[in-house]
Homo-oligomer: 195 residues x 2
């Protein structure tokens, strides 16, 4: 019976409210520490910055990779939330292009996390798949609204838009330290996207 | 005296005409073998395909890396020659966009060579610097002519155009196996480049 299966299931026990808050606070501190010292910073540094013992960190995140992965997932979840806020609070064209620029601006840090996880042998794509799908869905919503408003070319779909984001991030990485050239390169893509 | 210095200098002796021809023929065969079997193909396979002994290959290219590097340099030299031919034989807009597409279409093979060299510890950038500069110069000439003809936006310079090429190649790599989406993504960049 359904009820019995649910009670006896193997699903992870939901975290109590205070455990959830502790976990969220640790993630927040970890993100700050990694932002400051790079994803190579140690779990000990995160524990010290959070003012807790290392055992507390390991209770929530059994390995350094689990912590990095959780920070990356949290960043993607936040990105999807921000897309939602833009969709609700801004005209479609502005929402779309603001989000495009937000993703591009955040990509160097995201790539640093992804590289650190890949170096540790983690299948990053699988690790962030749910959060990644949420971002893709949000992107699709912003794209459709901007196309409906005549602000973005109508022949584009989410897969190529995602590839265009990836490629634009690669362009800007190539122009690291040359902000004027980077601005002009980005403008080429933005103009090409317009309807 | 100048003449004495030249005679006694340490500069490499120029290859005789037949040695030059043999080297060029080996490079041609090597490129075909690598194109068919990937840059992992062995020097022995190249020798066999060229119908010469392995000693002959090693006389021209002391290591597998030297051979790979020479093939990559030859590809870049040919690209610079093709840019020159386009500049001389086509209207500026057509020459520029044809060359842009040529570079993008050739990039997967070029990247495979560069990755094989990097894996072998070769500083690829340094290894191909002369040939790379020739391609950049050719690209600059095509860009200036296309801008002069009003076909390409005038705010672009060679560094960002190079970055745009790199980023476009990354886009298409992301869309490998999805030719329709790849065509649309490329079109976004081409339209963004127009003046």
């Amino acid at each position: 019976m359904a009820t019995g299966q649910e009670q006896g299931g193997t699903a992870a026990k939901p975290l109590r409210a205070d455990a959830r808050r502790n976990r969220a606070r640790l993630l927040e501190v970890a993100e700050e520490v990694f932002a400051e010292r790079g994803p190579g910073a140690s779990t000990e540094e995160v524990a010290r910055a959070a003012g807790v013992g290392i055992a507390t960190v390991f209770r929530h995140f059994p390995t350094k990779e689990a912590l990095l992965e959780a920070v990356l997932v949290r960043r993607l979840e936040r990105l999807a939330e921000e897309a939602q806020q833009l969709a609700e609070g801004r005209p479609p064209a502005e929402a779309f292009f603001d989000f495009f620029n937000l993703v591009v601006d955040r990509s160097p840090v995201k790539n640093a996390y992804a590289a650190a996880l890949a170096d540790a042998g983690v299948d990053v794509h699988a690790a962030v798949s749910d959060a990644g799908r949420a971002v893709s869905a949000a992107l699709g919503g912003l794209l459709a609204a901007a196309q409906g408003a005549g602000a973005v070319r109508t022949d584009l779909e989410v897969p190529e838009l995602t590839a265009i984001l990836v490629g634009t991030c690669r362009m800007l990485q190539h122009l690291d330290g040359r902000p004027d050239a980077a601005r002009r390169a980005r403008q080429v893509v933005l103009d090409g996207l317009r309807g």
